[in-house]
């Protein structure tokens, strides 16, 4: 059965890139265009296997979304990987402290993203 993965990014091109990278049939992709929409979907779908999330987005940024959803204990085990242009260690540490499981700096290598998501969803 395909695992449900949510990609949160304000760029439709990046969302489509992620869809192509994970398009092996193992994953069922869902999309959100900002952190606010992403948080809504996370709250609606209890069977999400992983979330891939940009940082710099309108309305609600990815780190705020991460901190918001991780406050709810029912999302404590949900793996979230940040996918962003930022490589700043303070932000990486903030994401790690909030409960993120990984950080990828754009542009990403599709095979590495796939390997990371496979690893995180098989735990």
């Amino acid at each position: 059965m395909a695992k449900r993965v949510l990609v949160v990014d304000d760029s439709a091109t990046v969302r489509q890139q992620v869809r192509a990278a994970l398009g092996s049939g193992d994953f069922l992709l869902m999309e959100a265009g900002d952190g606010s929409e992403g948080a809504e979907i996370i709250n609606q779908f209890a069977d999400l296997a992983a979330v891939i999330c940009d940082v710099n987005m309108p309305r609600m940024n990815g780190l705020d979304m991460l901190e918001t959803v991780k406050k709810d204990p029912k999302h404590a085990a949900l793996p979230v990987v940040m996918l962003t242009t930022d490589g700043q260690h303070e932000l990486i540490q903030r994401a790690k402290a909030a409960g993120a499981k990984g950080w990828i700096v754009k542009p990403f290598k599709p095979e590495l993203l796939l390997a990371a998501i496979r690893k995180l969803t098989s735990r």
Partner: protein, 176 residues
């Protein structure tokens, strides 16, 4: 413009130009700095991605413009949206510049990008503003950085923050 600000502007221009080359190379398109052939120069820019930024002592905007072919050849998806892709390229270019400015002791905060479509687009020059022009097979890429400096702004040497950890480079992935 003070000598310090001029030096900083030149340093930022260099950072932007170097990272523009690397960004397009990461999407498998070689672009070359320098003279643009007459036929390429006559081609109309298709879209501009504009992304602003602020910080304590410097603020401004990065503008990335391309003709049709470089934009389409770098787009990794099968159903390209020109608007979305030029915004994302501008965002990724400023992200690279931001990461390198951090190594020079300057932190900037980018806004979200916007796209502009037009023909024969060019910047209105302020005191000193140079557009970096690149050629690619079948097209032209242009980038310029428009900055305002506060007194005291200085772009340090890249090792200025040697005591802090260098930003994670593009393409890197870490799992916690």
């Amino acid at each position: 413009m003070s000598a310090t600000n001029l030096a900083s502007t030149l340093g930022l221009d260099r950072l932007v130009a170097e990272n523009c080359l690397k960004l397009f190379a990461d999407y498998d398109l070689e672009i070359r700095s320098g003279e643009v052939e007459a036929t390429a120069a006559d081609e109309r820019f298709l879209l501009c991605g504009i992304i602003g930024f602020t910080s304590k002592l410097v603020r401004g905007a990065l503008v990335l413009a391309t003709t049709k072919q470089p934009l389409e050849r770098t787009n990794p998806t099968s159903t390209p949206s020109h608007r979305d892709w030029i915004c994302e390229l501008a965002n990724q270019l400023l992200g690279r510049v931001k990461n390198q400015m951090l190594s020079c002791g300057v932190e900037i905060f980018p806004s979200t990008p916007v796209a502009v479509r037009g023909e024969h687009l060019s910047p209105i020059l302020q005191q000193r503003l140079i557009a970096e022009l690149f050629t690619a097979d079948g097209g032209v890429v242009c980038v310029w950085l428009d900055c305002e400096f506060e007194d005291g702004f200085e772009l340090g040497e890249p090792d200025r923050c040697a005591n802090s950890i260098a930003p994670l480079p593009e393409g890197e992935i870490i799992l916690f």
